[in-house]
C-alpha cells in the first residue's frame, strides 16, 4: 500500500489520472453525438446548395438525440412482436414516411420517426437475415467440400471452411431479438478507452522508474524489501490498476452508454442480437459477453502493463528506456495497423501487444490465420495465451527487478546518444542567440511536438462553409454574377441587355408556339418544350434582374464613396470569411492561440526552472539582447502558427475557388460594403493576414510576459492558458458575452476586418495587454 501511496500521492500523476478519466467520459459522450447515436439522421434530398462552385443536394438532418428517443418509443411499441411482423410494419411505415418527406408534407415528428424507423429496419434486416447467414456458412462448407475447386480438406482453405462452419454450428437455432444495443456497440467501437487504459498502465510503469530518476535506485536495491518484495508488490499494483482501470474507464463508458441508449434491459438477449457481435461464435447473452469481456480486458490490461514495465525496466537509463519502449511500441503498432490481413507475416499482426490493447477486435471480427496450413482462431488463441503470458511477463518483471544491478549495466544506448549529441553539437555551435532560442523552444521544450500536433489539427479544421441557396432564382443570380464578374461599365449592362433579349426571345417563342398550337400548327410536345424553356427563362430573368439591381446599387455606391464598382462572385469570400464562417474562424483562431501559448509558455519560465536567470543576467547580452531575441522568437512562433493555420485557410480559398477579382475595391463585397479605407480585395486580404499575424505576435508577447512571472514551465502553461484561452472559451463556447473583449481569438481571427460591426474593443485590449506584456518582459529582463 505504501508503494501505491507513493505513486498516487504525486500530484502530477494524480492530475494525469484525473484528466484521463475526465477525457474518456467527455470524449465518449462526444463520440456518441458525432455518430448521431448510431442513427442515419439525414432525410432524403430536398433543395440544393452550392459548395466549391458545384451543386450537391441539401441533406436536411434531424436532431439525433430526439430521433433516438423516438427510436426507443418505437422499440417499446414493437414490444414482443415477432421479427417478421415487426419488419413488415417498419418497412410499411418507412415507405409512408419517405413519401411524406419527398412531398414536403412531413411534420418534424414524422421526420424523427423516419430516422428511428430506418435504424430499426436495419436491425430487423440483420436479425431476420442472421439465420440465412448461418445457413450460408454451413452451405459453403458442404458445397466447397463436395464440388468446389478448393475442395482439398487438407489445405488451409478447406480446413478453415470446416473450422468456421463447426464453430458457428453451435449457434444453430439461436433466438435473436430486437433491442437497444447502442451501449454495447458504443463501448466496443470507442477505441480511445483502450488507449486511455494503456496510458494509465504506462503511467504506473513509468512511476516504477521514479527511484532511477531520483538517483535512489542503489538505495532501493540495497534495502531488504527492495527486490523481490517490491517487485511482487508492483506486479500486484499493476493487477489492481488493471482491474480498477477497467472498472473505471469501461464502467464509465457502459454507464454513459446505458444512460444514453436506453438502459440495460436487453442484457439477457443472445449476444448475436447486437450486430456488432454477429461474428462471435459463442452462445452467450449480451450480459454474459460483457462480463467475460471485462474480465479478459482486465487480464489483457495486466499483461500490457507488465510488458510496458518490462520494456522500461530492461534499460538502465530512464530516458533511453522510454525511447526504447516507444520504439518497440511504435513497431508493434505499425505491424498491427499496417500489415495486411492477407500478408504471410500476419502472425506478427495478430500476435501483437496491440491485439490485447484493442481487445474488442477479437469479438467483433471472426478470423483464422494460416499457421503451417492450419487455421488458428485469433480470439481463442489470444484468450488462451493470456494467462501464461501474464505469468511469464510477471516472472520476467520480477526477475529484472531483482537481478538488474543499479551500477552494473554498460550504457550502450548512452554511447549511441553521445555520438548523436556530438553530431548535433556540430550544428548547434553555429547557432547564434536567436537560433539557440529557437532550439530551446522547439527542441528542448518539445515545441516540435506541438508544431506537429498543430499541423495535424489545422489539417483537420474546416475553413469553408457551405452557403445554401434558397431558390432557383438565387442560384441563377449566382451564375450570372460569375458570368458578368468584373468592373461594372456600360458594357456590363449592355451584356445584360443582350442576355435579357435572349430570354425575351424564349418567352416570345413560347407565346408563338402557344398561338400556333391553338391554331393547330404544332403538336403538344413542341409546345411543352417551348413552355419548359420559357419557364426556365422566367427563372433566369429573375436572377438576371437581381444581378442588374446589384450592379446598379454598386454603381451608385461607388459614385457616392468613390470606388470603382465591380461585380464580384462573393461565394468564395462568404464561404471562407463571411458571417456564416465565423465558427470556423474562431475555431482556427483558438487552435492558433492554443499552439502559440504552448510553444511560448516556457519562453522565460524554462530559464527560471533551470536556475540560470542570475547567470544569464550577468552576461553582456543576457538582458536587452536576450529580450530582443525572445521577442523575435515570439514573432517567429507567431509566424509559424500563422503559416500553418492561415496558410491552410488561404490554400482552401485558392484551391477551392477561382478568385479573379484581386484588384476590385473591397467595398464591392456585400460583407465589406462599410469598409472604411480604400482598398483592393488583394490589399484587404494582405491586411487581414498581416493583422492576424500581428495579433498572434501580441498574444506571444503576453504569453512571454506571463511566462516571465512563473517559476516552472508547467505553471507557466497553466497561467498562460488561463490568460489567453479561458476568456475565449467562455465567450465562444459557453456564450458568456462579458468575456467578449477579453477573448483574444477575436482579434486573432481579425473579426473587425471581416465584419465591420465586429467591434474593436478586443483588439485594443490585446494591443494594450501586449504593451503591458512588453513592459513586464522589460522588467524581467532588463531590471535587476
Amino acid at each position: 500500500m505504501r508503494e501505491l501511496g507513493r505513486i498516487v500521492r504525486n500530484r502530477r500523476f494524480a492530475l494525469a489520472l484525473a484528466l484521463i478519466l475526465l477525457a474518456n467520459g467527455v470524449l465518449f459522450v462526444r463520440e456518441q453525438r458525432d455518430r448521431d447515436y448510431g442513427l442515419d439522421c439525414e432525410l432524403p434530398a430536398g433543395s440544393y446548395v452550392v459548395f466549391d462552385g458545384s451543386f450537391e443536394p441539401a441533406r436536411e438532418t434531424v436532431d439525433p438525440a430526439a430521433a433516438y428517443g423516438r427510436y426507443l418509443d418505437w422499440l417499446d411499441r414493437l414490444g414482443d412482436m415477432p421479427l417478421a411482423e415487426a419488419a413488415a410494419l417498419l418497412a410499411e411505415e418507412r415507405e409512408a414516411l419517405t413519401r411524406k418527406i419527398g412531398g414536403d408534407a412531413a411534420t418534424d415528428s414524422e421526420k424523427l420517426d423516419y430516422a428511428a424507423v430506418g435504424r430499426l429496419l436495419d436491425q430487423t434486416d440483420y436479425l431476420t437475415g442472421y439465420g440465412g447467414w448461418l445457413d450460408g456458412v454451413r452451405k459453403s462448407r458442404d458445397d466447397l467440400l463436395t464440388f468446389s475447386i478448393f475442395n482439398d480438406p487438407d489445405s488451409f482453405s478447406g480446413r478453415n471452411i470446416i473450422k468456421t462452419a463447426e464453430e458457428f454450428e453451435k449457434l444453430e437455432g439461436v433466438e435473436l431479438t430486437l433491442g437497444a444495443d447502442g451501449a454495447v456497440e458504443a463501448v466496443l467501437s470507442f477505441r480511445l478507452t483502450d488507449y486511455f487504459l494503456a496510458a494509465v498502465l504506462l503511467l504506473f510503469a513509468l512511476s516504477f522508474l521514479e527511484e532511477r530518476k531520483a538517483g535512489l535506485w542503489s538505495v532501493v536495491h540495497a534495502a531488504p524489501d527492495g527486490r523481490l518484495q517490491l517487485a511482487v508488490r508492483r506486479a500486484a499494483i499493476l493487477l489492481g490498476v488493471s482491474a480498477g482501470g477497467v472498472a473505471l474507464l469501461y464502467g464509465t463508458d457502459l454507464a454513459i452508454g446505458f444512460s444514453l441508449y436506453g438502459g440495460a434491459d436487453g442484457l439477457g438477449r443472445a449476444a448475436q442480437s447486437a450486430e456488432v457481435l454477429g461474428r462471435l461464435p459463442e452462445l452467450w447473452t449480451v450480459g454474459g459477453f460483457l462480463g467475460r469481456f471485462l474480465l479478459l480486458r482486465t487480464a489483457a490490461a495486466f499483461f500490457t502493463g507488465l510488458l510496458l514495465w518490462l520494456l522500461l525496466a530492461a534499460v538502465d537509463n530512464v530516458k533511453y528506456a522510454v525511447v526504447a519502449a516507444a520504439g518497440v511500441l511504435a513497431a508493434e503498432y505499425g505491424l498491427y495497423t499496417f500489415l495486411p490481413v492477407q500478408s504471410s507475416f500476419n502472425v506478427l499482426k495478430y500476435f501483437n501487444l496491440f491485439t490485447y490493447v484493442s481487445l474488442s477486435d477479437l469479438y467483433t471480427n471472426y478470423l483464422n490465420i494460416d499457421l503451417l496450413g492450419f487455421p488458428l482462431g485469433i480470439r481463442s488463441i489470444s484468450q488462451l495465451a493470456l494467462i501464461p503470458l501474464c505469468l511469464a511477463s510477471a516472472a520476467a518483471c520480477i526477475f529484472v527487478q531483482c537481478r538488474k544491478k543499479p551500477a552494473a549495466g554498460r550504457d550502450r544506448l548512452g554511447r549511441a546518444a553521445y555520438r548523436i549529441n556530438r553530431a548535433a553539437d556540430r550544428l548547434l555551435r553555429r547557432l547564434r542567440l536567436l537560433g539557440m532560442e529557437l532550439y530551446k523552444t522547439l527542441w528542448l521544450q518539445k515545441g516540435v511536438v506541438i508544431a506537429a500536433l498543430l499541423v495535424y489539427t489545422a489539417a483537420g479544421l474546416t475553413y469553408v462553409v457551405k452557403i445554401p441557396v434558397a431558390s432557383a432564382e438565387e442560384q441563377t443570380a449566382r451564375e450570372y454574377t460569375a458570368r458578368f464578374a468584373g468592373e461594372i461599365t456600360d458594357g456590363t449592362f449592355a451584356r445584360m441587355d443582350g442576355e435579357e433579349a435572349e430570354l425575351d426571345a424564349k418567352t416570345a417563342a413560347y407565346e408563338e408556339a402557344k398561338a400556333a398550337y391553338e391554331r393547330g400548327e404544332t403538336d403538344l410536345s413542341s409546345l411543352d418544350g417551348c413552355a419548359r424553356e420559357a419557364s426556365a427563362a422566367e427563372t433566369r430573368r429573375k436572377g438576371l434582374a437581381a444581378v442588374r439591381a446589384r450592379a446598379e446599387e454598386l454603381r451608385t455606391l461607388g459614385a457616392e464613396k468613390s470606388f470603382t464598382p465591380w461585380l464580384i462572385d462573393e461565394i468564395p469570400f462568404e464561404s471562407v470569411y463571411g458571417s456564416q464562417a465565423e465558427g470556423n474562424q474562431l475555431r482556427a483562431a483558438a487552435a492558433a492561440v492554443l499552439a502559440l501559448t504552448l510553444l511560448l509558455a516556457g519562453g522565460a519560465a524554462y530559464e527560471r526552472q533551470s536556475g540560470v536567470v542570475l547567470l544569464l543576467r550577468s552576461t553582456a547580452r543576457g538582458r536587452g539582447a536576450l529580450l530582443l531575441r525572445k521577442l523575435l522568437l515570439a514573432a517567429a512562433m507567431a509566424g509559424l502558427v500563422w503559416a500553418v493555420v492561415y496558410g491552410m485557410e488561404l490554400y482552401a480559398l485558392l484551391t477551392g475557388f477561382s478568385v479573379s477579382a484581386w484588384r476590385a475595391p473591397v467595398q464591392n463585397l456585400s460583407m465589406l460594403a462599410g469598409f472604411p479605407a480604400p482598398c483592393s480585395v488583394a490589399g484587404w486580404l494582405a491586411a487581414l493576414y498581416a493583422g492576424r499575424w500581428f495579433a498572434l505576435f501580441c498574444g506571444g508577447v503576453i504569453v512571454l510576459a506571463v511566462s516571465g512571472l512563473a517559476r516552472r514551465v508547467e505553471a507557466a502553461c497553466i497561467a498562460c492558458g488561463g490568460v489567453m484561452l479561458l476568456p475565449s472559451l467562455l465567450y465562444a463556447y459557453l456564450g458568456v458575452e462579458a468575456f467578449r473583449p477579453l477573448a483574444c481569438i477575436r482579434p486573432v481571427a481579425a473579426m473587425p476586418l471581416l465584419n465591420a460591426a465586429g467591434g474593436g474593443a478586443a483588439e485594443w485590449l490585446l494591443c494594450c495587454a501586449a504593451l503591458a506584456g512588453l513592459a513586464v518582459c522589460a522588467a524581467c529582463f532588463l531590471n535587476t
Binding site: L444, G611, L614, L615, R617, T784
Partner: protein, 287 residues
C-alpha cells in the same frame, strides 16, 4: 583596475543583508569568508547587478557599474552558488551559448571552450547532456563558463564545492594562475582553498566586513588566541558552553579540544606554530 564598494547597503524589508560596506578590490584573489547569511551572496549579486542595491555605489575604475552597463558585464565572469544549467544541453552547447551571451567572437570562443574543457577535465564528456553530469562535473562546467572571455573581474561563489580533492587542487591551481591582471572574488566554505591561493581574505559577519588582510597576517593575528587542552566528555560540554571550540581530537588516549578566543582557560598550551585559517575563522566569525 579597481573595484570599489562605497557605503554599499542592501536591505530586504526590515532585514539588512549588507550594511554600508566599504572596500576596494585591486588585482589579485580575494577569499571571502563568512557564515551563512553573512552577506556574501548578497554582495556578489550586487556586484553582478542581479539585485537592486538600497544604498551606496559600486565603482569599476571610478565609474558606477550601472553606468558601465553591459560593458561591465563584458569584463565579468560569474559563477553562482546555486547550480543552474539547461539539463538537456550538452556541456559544449551550453558553453557556446554562454559565449554568445558574453559576446565572444566564434573563433575565440572555440579556442577558449576547448581550453577550458581541458582544464576542467571535461573534454571527454563534452557531448554528454548536463542532466547526466555528477554534481562535481556540473560545478566544473559552471566554472568554465565563468572564465569564458577572459573576464577581468571574476566572481566565484563556492567554485570547488562537490569536487574531489584532486579536482579541487587542479581547479584551485588554475584559478591561482589566472590572478594576474584580474580581480578574483572567491567565496567558499572550504577555508583551505582560500588559505592556499588568496592574496587577501575578507571576513564578513552580519552584513559587515569585519576584517581584510593577507592569510599570513590574519593567522599571525590569532597567535595568542588558540590553545589546546585535554578534557573529559563532561568537560567538553562545559568548554563548548564557555569557549569557541575548534577541533576535538584524541591524543594519548585522552580527548583534547582546541579553543579560540580572547578569554582562554588557564590550563592548556598555546599552539603558535600550528595555526590555521580555521582558527582565524572561529576567532573572527565564530559565535
Amino acid at each position: 583596475m579597481r573595484l570599489e564598494l562605497r557605503g554599499l547597503t542592501k536591505t530586504y524589508g526590515g532585514l539588512t543583508a549588507l550594511d554600508h560596506v566599504n572596500i576596494t578590490f585591486t588585482e589579485g584573489i580575494y577569499g571571502i569568508l563568512g557564515a551563512n547569511g553573512a552577506g556574501k551572496s548578497t554582495m556578489m549579486n550586487l556586484l553582478t547587478d542581479n539585485i537592486p542595491r538600497t544604498e551606496g555605489q559600486i565603482l569599476f575604475d571610478g565609474v558606477d557599474i550601472l553606468r558601465w552597463g553591459k560593458d561591465f558585464r563584458r569584463v565579468l565572469g560569474y559563477m553562482p552558488q546555486q547550480q543552474g544549467y539547461y539539463e538537456h544541453m550538452t556541456a559544449q552547447t551550453f558553453l557556446y551559448y554562454m559565449a554568445d551571451l558574453k559576446a565572444i567572437p566564434k573563433k575565440r570562443a572555440e579556442r577558449q571552450i576547448d581550453r577550458l574543457l581541458a582544464v576542467t577535465g571535461l573534454s571527454d564528456v563534452r557531448h554528454k547532456k548536463l542532466g547526466g553530469y555528477s554534481g562535481g562535473m556540473k560545478q566544473r562546467v559552471l566554472l568554465a563558463q565563468a572564465l569564458l572571455g577572459n573576464p577581468r573581474v571574476v566572481i566565484l561563489d563556492e567554485p570547488t564545492a562537490g569536487l574531489d580533492p584532486r579536482e579541487r587542487i587542479r581547479i584551485r591551481n588554475f584559478i591561482s594562475s589566472l590572478s594576474r591582471g584580474r580581480i578574483i572574488l572567491l567565496a567558499t566554505h572550504i577555508v583551505s582553498d582560500i588559505e592556499s591561493i588568496s592574496d587577501r581574505i575578507l571576513m564578513m559577519k552580519k552584513g559587515r566586513v569585519v576584517g581584510v588582510d593577507t592569510p599570513a597576517n590574519l593567522i599571525d593575528s590569532v597567535a595568542d588566541k588558540v590553545k589546546e587542552l585535554p578534557c573529559g566528555s563532561v568537560g567538553l560540554e562545559r568548554m563548548q558552553r564557555w569557549y569557541r571550540v575548534g577541533n576535538v581530537f584524541q591524543r594519548n588516549g585522552e580527548t583534547w579540544v582546541r579553543v579560540v578566543g580572547d578569554q582562554l582557560p588557564v590550563e592548556g598550551e598555546y599552539v603558535p606554530d600550528h595555526l590555521t585559517l580555521e582558527d582565524v575563522y572561529l576567532y573572527y566569525l565564530g559565535e
